[in-house]
Each structure stands twice: as C-alpha cells, then as structure tokens.
C-alpha cells in the first residue's frame, strides 16, 4: 500500500505518537531514518488498513528520546544509533545492538556519509552488560555459539540460586549488511537478498517485498498468483510452527515426539517442493506474481498431503499437550501479561497468547485473499503452554486454508510481464505488512528521483519480540530457559539483518 505522507515537527512527534497509540487498533510500525538526517515513523491503522508515514527533520544527529514515554520505541532508537548515528538523548538503556567492537568507532553504515564525524559518541563499541549486585548473585554467559544447531547470539544470565533475576541479550553477530546491500544491487535482484535475510521465513519476506514493489508501481496481480502466494505463506507457517513444537518436545525430553514432529515437518516441506521446487520456497514469490505455475497434479498432491497432515498433527499434538509431564513443564512458565504485550507492542503468536487479537492477515491482505477470513486463535495465560496451543491452532487453521485454496484455484495467468519491474516509479514509497510465522513483518521501500532504491527497511517481528523473552524469563528457573526461548521462536538472522 502507499502510505499517507506527512511532516511532523520534532517537538510534536512524541505527542502525536502518543495520541496515535491511544486506540488499540492503531499501532506503531517502525521508527527509522533514510540517511541519518531525519526520523521516519510508520503508523498503522489496522481497521482501516491504512498507514501514515511521518517524516521529522532532526538537527545535529540527536533528539530527545521517545522511550521514556513510549517504551515500545526503545529497540528502534537503539537500532537507529547503530545504523545512522542518531542519538536519542535520555534513552534509559542506551547501547549498541548490531555493530560492536569489531567495527571502528564512528562508523555508521547507512548514514549519508558513513565515516562522517558525529557530535559525540556516548557509548563505546565495547559492550557493557548490566551488572546485578548482591550476595550470591552470579552470572552465566552463554554463546555466541550455542550447544545445538541454532544461530549465534549471546545471553548473559544473572542468577540467584536457580532463579534468573535478569537476562540480557547481546545480538548483532549475524549482521550481514542486508539493508545496504539491497540499495546496491539491481532492482530485479533485490528479492534474492531479501530472501536471504531469514530463510525460514523466506516466503514471507519475498511476499512483503513483492507487495512493496507492486504498490510502488501501482499494479494489481492475477488472482491465481494471490491464491498461490497465500498458500506458500501458510505452508511456511506450518513448517515454522512445527519446528517450534519439535524444539519444545526435544527440550522436555520427549525425543520420540520430537522425531515424529520432524517427520511431519518433512511432509510440510514436500508441499513446498510440489509448489515451488524448493524446500524453503525460495525464488517462488516475485514482484508481479509467482515465478512458476504448479501443475494440476501438484495441487492435487498438496491437497492430499495437507489432509493427511491435518489428521496426523491433531492426533499427535493432542497426546503431546495433554501429557502430564508436558503440562507440568509448560504451564505458568515464562508468562507475559496482556498489558506488557500492549506496552511493548509484541506481535505474532507471542501477542496472541496473551489475548491480543492482532493478525496482519485479516487487515492487510489483498481484498480477494481467502486469508482475510482466517479465524484468529487467542489464549489468555501468556505462558509457554499458551504459545504452544496458539501454534497448534494456527497449524490447523493454516492447513484448512491450504485445502480451501486448492479448491478455489482456477487456471489463469500467474505473472505480469517481466518488463513490469525493470524500473520503479520515482520518489515513491511502498509499504507492505505481512503476517509471517513469527508475526507482523513490515517492508518499506523508498525510491529516489531516478527510480533507484534510496532506502529499504525490513522490520522483522523479532525486533518487537526479543524484549518479550528477556522479560518473560525473569523469576523463572534457569532450567526452563530453553523452553521459554523455543516458545518465543525468535529469529537472530531476521533481527540482525
């Protein structure tokens, strides 16, 4: 969609943002910058499916921090400092997120002039962890390389006995400079870079990217492509949610259940194979439609696999979640309250597990996408069990949606002409909001006067949700941390970009 563009004065920004966030259907999308000389704020209205794009000029790379009044801005303000050198004055926990001691001081990659001297640098590149003091308080450092097969990140636990008092998460190990790379490559190749941001959600990223470019060029895509894209997105959601259930079962020690889930995950990946020829749906969704049209037999196969999965997953998960050991481990562990989720604007299954009904599929999908009518599963307790239940319910509703789409599909064109996206409109902004398996994913593309991409922002759902993990584990047992971690299903690669 094309957002409504507005200019806001710096001194009225926090007041307007507060006013905007008063009603629950209005949300903050992201806060970022184009080249370090301004702040851009994207505001979402979920009932009207509209967005507003606020631009605020800032002087001398600093401005009074918004975090103290609006805690949900805290991560964005830290990210902006890393990438642009914009300093939010008075930010309560101000440190680097992405670029650490490996990078020379004063280097801000997305600033207009990356090595330009800024006013002052309030934090050193060396990361300072928060110290918890007191008798018998000890620290456990974990990472960046973890024991299992997971992405890198560092966790610093401050514990008293077996209880976690504080968890600080140090990220940035996977910072690969994706947002800068997108501006460097030819526009037809942006989709490959976007998919490499986090490949477990490559279809969501590709879909968000495609919709952003389509809104810049103001084109509508064929109905068959809308349906098949929706199918791809749901298939990816199922695979991701099952991966999380594998992790939960494995961490509790039910290895055989985990093994059975991984067989079911393999079947989900075979849906992707039938659909796109790739287990991770890579290079399937492209601006203007989809890259290949699955034949009739493929659709029949997909429908058959989905129907059998529906019954298998229901059978296994009902046994799994009603198991006494599982209940003991997952209930009342890692709880998050609804008010906290609203305060920090958590998204996706994490938010839905505490009773927030926001699902971007309902409001921001194209008008003739059957995903608009999806039933949103919510829970109230906000603990590990609630998040597992939400994932299970979403797997079921996604499988039903896939079967529904298979019936709706009619032969027809599936892609606009290849020449449609050789050039982009000049001085345009395209925004797309997609419900990825982890939650609300936003892509924002801006073009300059030559039709080149001047800024491309990816707001992964994990940017909102990493805070949820560090709050949820407080006062929980150290041994419950792996379960909490898996239940949030956070992406390191999507966050670090």
């Amino acid at each position: 969609m094309n957002p409504q563009k507005m200019t806001k004065e710096l001194n009225s920004l926090s007041v307007s943002l507060k006013k905007w966030l008063k009603t629950p259907e209005q949300r903050l999308g992201l806060i970022s910058s184009v080249n370090g000389q301004q702040l851009i704020t994207l505001c979402l209205n979920t009932t009207k499916a509209e967005t507003e794009f606020w631009e605020t000029e800032i002087q001398k790379n600093s401005y009074p921090s918004l975090t103290q009044q609006l805690p949900l801005c805290h991560w964005f303000e830290r990210l902006n400092f890393d990438l642009f050198g914009i300093i939010p004055e008075g930010h309560p926990r101000f440190k680097h997120v992405l670029l650490h001691e490996e990078y020379e001081p004063g280097f801000f990659p997305l600033r207009k002039n990356p090595k330009e001297q800024i006013k002052y640098d309030p934090c050193h590149r060396q990361y300072q962890f928060m110290q918890v003091e007191g008798d018998e308080v000890y620290e456990i450092p974990v990472g960046p390389i973890h024991a299992g097969i997971i992405e890198p990140g560092h966790f610093r636990f401050s514990c008293l006995g077996e209880i976690i008092i504080n968890l600080e998460i140090h990220l940035g190990y996977l910072h690969r400079g994706i947002e800068k790379r997108i501006c460097e490559v030819p526009i037809q190749q942006v989709r490959f870079v976007v998919e490499a941001a986090a490949t477990d959600t490559s279809a969501s990223n590709a879909l968000a990217h495609a919709r952003a470019f389509e809104s810049i060029n103001k084109v509508t895509i064929p109905q068959r492509a809308i349906l098949l894209r929706s199918l791809a997105l749901e298939s990816e959601r199922i695979a991701n949610h099952i991966t999380d259930l594998i992790g939960l079962a494995g961490d509790i020690g039910l290895i055989a259940v985990a093994a059975n889930y991984s067989v079911l995950r393999g079947q989900t990946l075979s849906i992707n194979d039938w659909l796109s020829g790739n287990r991770f749906l890579r290079s399937f969704i492209v601006p203007g439609g989809i890259s290949r049209d699955p034949c009739k037999n493929s659709i029949i196969a997909i429908k058959k696999i989905s129907s059998s999965l529906l019954c298998e997953i229901e059978k296994l998960t009902k046994i799994f979640l009603s198991n006494q050991v599982v209940e003991e481990r997952m209930c009342n562990v890692g709880s998050i309250s609804k008010s906290l989720a609203e305060e920090f604007a958590f998204v996706g299954p994490t938010a839905r597990a505490c009773g927030i009904t926001y699902d971007a599929r309902q409001c921001f999908s194209p008008t003739d996408d059957p995903a608009r009518g999806i039933e949103v599963a919510t829970a109230k307790t906000g603990d590990v069990m609630a998040r597992a239940q939400i994932r299970f319910q979403e797997v079921l509703s996604s499988l039903k949606l896939i079967i529904q789409i298979c019936d709706l599909l009619e032969p027809g064109p599936y892609r606009l002409g290849i020449n449609e996206f050789k050039e982009l409109e000049t001085n345009a902004i395209g925004v797309s909001i997609v419900e990825s398996p982890r939650g609300e994913l936003i892509h924002l593309a801006m073009t300059d006067e030559n039709g080149k991409i001047s800024r491309y922002i990816i707001k992964d759902p994990s940017i909102n949700n990493w805070t949820a993990l560090s709050i949820a584990v407080r006062n929980n047992l150290l041994a419950d941390f792996p379960l909490c971690n898996k239940s949030f299903s956070l992406s390191y690669g999507g966050h670090d970009l």
Partner: protein
C-alpha cells in the same frame, strides 16, 4: 503416557532405505552445463540474470565458453528457466560435495571433469550404494562427531537438523552432532561468517583436538553468496579456516549434508 507410547509404536519405521536418491522431478536442483552449445552466441541472459555472478561467458570463435561456479550459485534456477538451448540443465543429484573449491567451478569446455555431477550417469553407482547399505560396513567404519557453527540465515542449520531426523537419520552412518568443540572431529560452518563471527569461529576451531576437519555447508559458507564484498566482510569461511569439503546449495539438501560429511572421511 500409555496413549503416547501406543501412538509412537503405531508409527513404525520411517527411515529412507534408498541412500542418496535424486531429488524428485518437481525440484529445481542445481544447474549443470551440458555439451550443447548456446544457440545464439550473443545471448547472455543467464549471465545477466544470475544474482551472484556465478555464470561467466567468454566468447570463443564460434561458440561460447561458459563457466558456472556452484560455490556462488544460490540455486534460484533463473538460468535453467531462461536457457533455450539446453546448455544449462537442472541436476537433481544429492551427491554434490567436493573436496576442492575449483571442482565446484563447472565449464562446458571441460566436461569429463564434471560427468560425475550428472545424475543420469549415476545409476550404476546407485546400485553399488544400495548393495552397500545392506552391509553398511563402508559407512560405519567409525563414528564422526560434528560441531555446527551457524553464522547465517538458518536455512543450512535447519537442513543439518533435518539430516538428523528419522527420515534421513544420519546417526546410522555414525554421524552425531555434539555440543562442544572439545570432542568434535568435524566443524560444520554455515553462513557467510560476518565480521562479528570471525573470532568466535576461529576460537571454536582452535578448541578442537587434532586431527580436525572443516566443512563449508552451503553457498554462503563457500563464497559469501549474496552477501560477499559488503562492509561486514561476510565472504565465507574459506578466508578464515582451511576447508576440507565444500557442500554447495542454498541450502544443501539433507542428503547432500550427509554426503559431504562422509566425503570428508572418504567413505563414499
């Protein structure tokens, strides 16, 4: 609990009996070069479309010499779809690992070197493998402990994890994933190794006892893929560590991962 046990027993055995099968026909697989010459020697569509500059065309007298670097290829299949002369075709073999970097660079002028890539010619080899599976001796000479260091987008990690699931079951070859470099024989590196991971990766390698091997899993670890030459110096693992085996693919199939690990110990 009894319900759970009943369910588990009812599931039976799911392990794939056929070792290293070709990917199904619906899959894109990796590209390979055939002896067919380009129909139009001025057609450079594949070179233009390639997002990682893996294809390079040099004009010779009346035909084109094409080189295709599988170590840079992100298997987007654009070149396969656009090629009208059958010069670039899909290769659905899962036996893709190579011990030397330059063996990943295919050329249409030097075909004997690359024939073992062509899945069609693999049927004889396939029968051998099946016979071997009955004995399993060749694969189970001794166990292999692997340590995984992930530095990328998590696709390769998911495929390595999938190689341990009941379908592929890498433990039947004696391969296990271990939680510490101290008792690992092999280091599996995934991802392009951005600047912040240089030191942790090196320290993990140094903590391993000798003899030790390093396997670069996936295109990013081999060459940096779409990330190379950026400000984060994410140019793959080969600039940091000596690599014994390269597994191309973005991400490689679980069978390819197992094949790569066995290749490192000359067991295929």
């Amino acid at each position: 609990m009894i319900k759970l046990l009943q369910y588990l027993i009812s599931q039976g055995q799911r392990t794939e009996k056929n070792l290293f099968p070709d990917l199904p026909k619906t899959c894109n697989g990796q590209p390979y070069l055939t002896s067919n010459n380009c129909k139009d020697i001025n057609c450079k569509l594949c070179e233009e479309l390639c997002p990682t500059a893996a294809i390079q065309i040099t004009k010779m007298k009346e035909e084109n010499a094409i080189s295709l670097d599988l170590g840079s290829c992100i298997t987007c299949a654009e070149c396969i779809n656009i090629c009208s002369s059958g010069t670039i075709m899909p290769n659905r073999s899962t036996k893709t690992a190579r011990e030397e970097r330059n063996k990943l660079i295919l050329s249409n002028k030097n075909l004997p070197d690359t024939t073992d890539y062509h899945s069609q010619n693999n049927s004889l080899f396939q029968n051998d493998l099946e016979k071997n599976h009955k004995k399993l001796g060749k694969y189970q000479a001794h166990s292999i402990a692997c340590r995984v260091v992930s530095t990328g987008c998590s696709a390769c990690d998911l495929e390595i994890a999938a190689a341990g699931n009941p379908i592929f079951d890498m433990e039947r070859f004696g391969i296990s994933i271990v939680a510490s470099p101290r008792f690992a024989d092999v280091l599996l590196v995934t991802g392009p190794v951005p600047k912040a991971m240089h030191e942790p990766l090196l320290r993990c390698y140094e903590a391993m006892p000798e003899p030790r091997k390093v396997i670069a899993v996936g295109t990013c670890a081999t060459s940096g893929g779409v990330h190379k030459n950026g400000y984060t110096e994410a140019n793959g693992a080969s600039n940091i560590l000596p690599i014994d085996v390269f597994i191309p693919g973005c991400p490689p199939h679980p069978w390819s991962v197992i094949h790569g690990i066995l290749t490192a110990f000359n067991r295929v």
